[in-house]
Symmetry: C2
Subunit: 388 residues, 2 copies
């Protein structure tokens, strides 16, 4: 196969995603050289590797890769994809997402893509929202709200197209008119799970459906696990919304952490098994606690995104008072009134300081004097609760 | 006042908790010397301080502390306390809790205590469980379960005797037959809030009710905030169960962190305002995420307390399989059967490796051969879900 693009397409059928030997050999021989070697039935060439162990590894790789040689037909795979309105992407294409290069030897040889979105652009400001298929209504709602909220900020949402949290994340981004990318474990011409067919069609229209395996490939557990590394590498950060104690979403988080990308986890009730994996990430992996879209967006763009502070919590009337003024305020009766001497004793402060504090408190509308040198709480302060 | 104990009792009426000047001066003059100075109406003695600023601070302290001199009667306060079955504790007493010494200058001069528990012993293995008065049923239940769980491990539960999370924590510890300590912001002879009178009686019977302010003192906001430092110092670690974005419980956590004690926070739904403060601790203060009593207990005793791992999550049939075996398992059909050559192509592995994997999988009861050199998934594996 003389064409580099077709060689990569062919290679994506021969090799399983994440093959630990394939990456280094591909880098060494180039994809055309590697493909020629695999198709040739020659042994490992002299000089490619020196140690017997490395030779044995490459030799076993050749055995594996040659098993599927009879099924290789890259022109057919490209035709199949183009018939669906899709395209083949290889490294060096303008649309190739830069984030994948961080995978090094584990980077995919090519991507099979359907959809209107430019992948390079979508990946530039992107957040992975992933989680359990067996999600709860709480998780679905939270995923959809996070997705819509970050989409509103121009951040694209990457997920895995599965039931549960993945579907809610795609839906949330679509509802906000945003861009969303589904990374599949099967061929771009297949729909898995079948119940998400309509959703995947809409994701393709407004975003992109992406996979590294050749058309027709079935989704296997191995491919699901490897697919997770692509989600983590495509997105600038990964947030797990709900995940059981054991969950594939945790492997996505682990890949993201390995790529030094920020990892967030959404907390939930400690009584919910669907949140146990998120709490595990918070406890064991120092994931950032994510409670709203602003916090999720901050993972992707930590600079220049000011988080709102107290989020609409009204100030209490005593917030920010100096300690002595607080003590005088505490000493003021609500219904009756007290002399400044009595206030001084109750507050444990000299009378002059009490008078100064009363001046400040009355300016703030917190203290008032009914006359006779006595003071009480002003009406609007009277309703405030007590204690801590 | 010649007696050191009575001098400390007297001092606890004159000074407000946490007075920033009182601690250093008390350390310098001793409590009897300080009390003598305050009762004398003399100015700041020559030689006590050198800088004008320090002199001004002490001078203003003397003004404050002298305001309540007329109300001092330590014998009466001790009698009042003893009539309730209580006692006065001072540093150096065998029952004085060692944790308070970490407060340095901010340590209380004495403690007024009611209850059967030995405070030194209760403090030695103790956890503070604190949180919102405006708690939710979720928070109450979680607080009670955490309290009962750590009490079962012989850890005493420290809290503030308030409504909501505090009350649930005390109740949980009592229900488990454990020791619990309520730290009050008012005199040991007062009940605040009044609705917790029955609970405080039971806390006193099985544990202890503690305060640093003299009998008769009212609970003020200032005293609530200062009380929180005692909770943090008495306990080996502090866990916040529920707290609003602004909450006194966060001040307890902040005191604990300042004392280099571990701080935990219980997560909750991101939609619950009662958990916002906990999530804030997880995000901003690097609090440890706490989801059950074992994790809470671990904060107090990190050494030798093995956490259970996956907590009863059943192993999936493919857990721990080497990658090649997983690929062969994925390739095995459930209803029909496949030849080893076909399996090799689907799995992308040489036939010899497929045979070896089939051997291992059949030993594990995951693969079976209906004959003719073909293989399929064994029955019990057939039910397992697919994907990640």
């Amino acid at each position: 196969v003389a064409d580099e693009r077709l060689a990569r397409a062919a290679w994506s059928r021969l090799v399983e995603p994440g093959d630990p030997v394939a990456g280094p050999v591909l880098d060494h021989l180039g994809v055309r050289g590697l493909l020629q070697l695999v198709l040739s039935a020659e042994p490992v060439p002299e000089g490619l590797v020196t140690s017997p162990r490395a030779r044995a590894l490459v030799s076993s790789g050749l055995e594996r890769w040659r098993v599927r040689v009879a099924t290789v037909d890259p022109e057919r795979d490209v035709r199949t994809t183009e018939r669906l309105g899709g395209r083949l992407l290889v490294p060096g294409d303008a649309e190739w997402p830069a984030g994948l290069d961080d995978l090094g030897h584990a980077a995919p040889a090519c991507l099979w893509v359907r959809g209107s979105a430019d992948l390079a652009r979508a990946g530039a400001r992107s957040l992975a929202l992933v989680g359990a298929r067996a999600s709860t209504p709480y998780g679905d709602r939270t995923a959809a709200e996070l997705a819509a909220g970050v989409a509103d900020r121009g951040i694209s949402v990457v997920s895995g197209g599965a039931y549960g949290i993945d579907a809610a994340a795609h839906e949330g981004a679509l509802a906000a008119g945003g861009t969303t990318v589904a990374v599949l474990a099967c061929g771009v011409d297949r729909v898995y799970p079948s119940g998400n067919e309509g959703l995947m069609t809409r994701v393709g229209e407004a975003g992109a459906v992406v996979t590294e395996v050749a058309p027709g490939s079935a989704p296997t557990r191995h491919r699901f696990l490897q697919r997770n590394r692509l989600i983590a590498a495509l997105a600038g950060a990964t947030v797990v919304v709900e995940a059981a104690w054991r969950s594939g979403a945790l492997s996505t988080a682990s890949h993201a952490a390995g790529l030094l990308r920020p990892v967030g986890a959404v907390p939930g009730p400690v009584t919910s098994a669907a949140s146990a994996g998120c709490h595990r990430l918070l406890r064991e992996a120092a994931a950032t606690c994510i409670t709203d879209a602003a916090e999720a967006a901050e993972l992707v763009e930590p600079v220049g995104t000011a988080l709102p502070g107290p989020r609409g919590v009204p100030e209490a009337d005593h917030d920010g008072l100096p300690p002595h003024d607080l003590r005088v305020l505490d000493a003021l009766p609500v219904r009756t009134a007290r002399s400044t001497l009595s206030l001084a004793q109750v507050a444990g402060l000299p009378e002059l300081q009490v008078l100064a504090a009363l001046g400040r408190l009355s300016l703030l509308g917190l203290a008032e004097s009914p006359g006779g040198g006595t003071w009480r709480r002003a009406r609007r302060a009277g309703a405030a609760g007590r204690g801590a």
